[in-house]
Amino acid sequence: MDTRDTFRHNVLTSGHRACSGCGEAMAARMVVDLIGPDAIYVNATGCLQVFTTHNQQSAWQAPWIHSVFANAAAVASGVEAALRARGKDTPVVVQAGDGGTFDIGLQCLSGMIERGHDVLFVCYDNEAYMNTGVQRSSSTPHAVRTTTTPPGRLSEGKHHLKKDLISIIAAHQMPYAATATVAYFPDLKAKVEKAMRIKGPRFLHVLSPCPLGWDHDAALSVTVARLAVETGLFPLIEMEYGAVTGVMRLARQRPVEEYLKLQGRFKHLFADKEGAAEIRHLQALADANIRRYGLLDARTEWDTDRAVQAQRQGRGGYAVSPKETSL
């Protein structure tokens, strides 16, 4: 048991094999420490599963089970039903990548929600199949370079658009679905804690930068996530029973170039006029998000400035179980 830190449990602890600067490890560490060790974690195949369990070693300091790539939500449904049968209310949490959520895991997820299982499903979205070498997924944004969407004479990267997953999820008339990212810890914390207070199926979509697949400096994982939000490309919203009930207002809208130019996966867009047209397209997509969710004029006290502001003694920590702090 690793008890180095008295202020967080480190449900996902050190020694894991994620790349340096991994946004998925960062996101998962925040989420699981907000939930705490007294939960059962079900993990789909993908980077998070592979880099945390290696050579008979596990980075998990909580009950954790690996399903397969497609069926994490089905396994979690079973775990939850079994707990219920035994009269227990231990929280059940699914973790999956975008491949395991948007693509191959979607039908199991849909079924889990439709049956009303009391499970939180967390998707760590790094916008491609990273674990197997950066193949495109239906979450990969338009114009991105992946190994299966290489830009060249006839291509500006991925042709299709990023799937609007949150709308699909929300269409299930479920209690709570939200998007979040690593750059805004207080917002992520509020959403995880809210999700944990609600019974029934819940869904959290966490944008998780990937220095390898996005080809950005490892030090910039948080910066890139912040820009994804500030450009309007990744709106932070909450939905309850299909209706939008919360948005993070943008204190200011940044041009998409600021986000794109930090990442090698968009580098080809800066090379020629076809690329320039795609940048305009991505800008139009960001503008459309902003209009759709009212990101610039929503009447909220929360905005992208307030949500990052640092404070002395921090802006909140993690669920630390008493038995650990007494050590």
Binding site: T6, S20, Q56, Q57, S221, R312
Partner: protein, 540 residues
Amino acid sequence: MNSLAVEPGSTVAYPTGDWRNQRPVYRDKWPPCGQTCPAEEDIQVWLGLASDRQWEAAWRALTERNPLPAVMGRVCYHPCERACNRTHLDGPVNIHGVERHLGDLALEHGWRHHLLTEQPQTQQVAVVGTGPAGLSCAFQLARRGYPVTLFDARSTPGGTLSSGIPGYRLPKSVLQGEIDAILALGIQLKLNTRIGVEIGADTLREEFAAVFLAVGALQPRTYPDDGYGGHSVMTGVDFLRRINDGERLSLPKHVAVIGGGNTAIDAARCARRLGAEVTVVCPQDPHGSHGGHPGAEMPASLDEVIQAEAEGVRLRYRVGVRRLVRSGAHLSGVEIARVDQIHDRHGRFNPVLFEGTEEFLPAGLAVFAIGQEVDWRGLEALVEPRASSVFIGGDAAGQPRFAATAVGSGYQAAMSIIAFLTGAPSQYRHHDKAEVTFRDIKPQYYPKQVRREGELMVASPGGFSERVAGLDGDAALVEAGRCLSCGVCFACDNCWHFCPDAAVIKQMGGYRIDYDYCKGCGICAAECPCGHIDMEREAG
């Protein structure tokens, strides 16, 4: 360092630290405010304490280097604020405002300075001059157990703070309050004692193991050819001293003040308060006309100039006095003319005037405030040659002649004196921590907040009551909270939240990096708001 582990268990058995080619290091920096403060206050530290409402602890941290915060918060021209990194965000922290608030709180609550040692020393030290340099030195020595005797020729302590600076800028009670707190450390005060007159310099050297000369620069400078003396002519220093000593001068209708420094502005504002029409004859150009070039622009502090003008003082720039115009002994005015050169070849203040540009300026009193020099008379036995037990500081030691500089020099002198008396090296350390500039700050992490100012109180004609109000407790708290904590961790938790590798460990009292696991991604450094984390190349 690690082998491929095959034992079932936790990944903590697998130290990922050897993937790293650079390492984060927590490092306290020295912010530009403290680097610029002539008293070398650790400003960031006491602002941090104040922002936690730890007012008394903040005052104690401040007075480590400066026992006169209520005074300095009023009269120091706060170069710290010109250097403050927050300027580039939305305006500098009102450092002097918080400083003054802390000083005022101490006076209000009667906080007392603590001795740093229980052990009394035996070697006697004499401090000559009760200005800020002498007070600061005596304070530092007394806290360290040395028996100190403070001498001053005047009947009130405080040096130029008392004899030069008018009460509307620094109420006498504030100055006296802070002096009393210093003296309460057990310092002996001997007023009305001019060294060289009441006590010989030789005697002093023989009776004291060390002597600190903080005699200021009180000898008014005059023009090279002194055809300017006589009736209805005064120096700025004498004029202000008489007013500060409570003399009720009755002034003629028109007063001309010659000079462009703070003494000139103080004299002009005092004369104005006594009901005169006042014109300042300033040899330099106005503020901002030469991009801040020293020498070419009026040296007086801009705030003071603005207040003087608001009170009705007239300013004539780039003019000098050609002669005094008298009818008999009576002064009727001064002849002024456009200044060509201000200083002569030797750098001495000696304006050259353009012929044919003369004007008559009516004045029944001319006040010359063109600088001061050190008066060494009577002290020769101590300084020619300087004995090894004699130390010099404050205005007497040279430029720049500011109150906070004097405080800093008093601290340094105390450290040198202790080194001399004990034979150990001086404990004085110039702040040598790395600097932190605005480039190291991540502005997105700080909310924009307008700076709070002390209000200007209505100047009552003839009144010498304080002109600028202090910050109230709420405003002082906001201002302290505006400090970016440049280069010094303020426990925001960012590095701890963001580290993907659980390599930032939070403990009571701070954070540490667990280099067994840190992969060197640099996120912690990139997202530390205040630039406290450096990334360093790993060797090899």
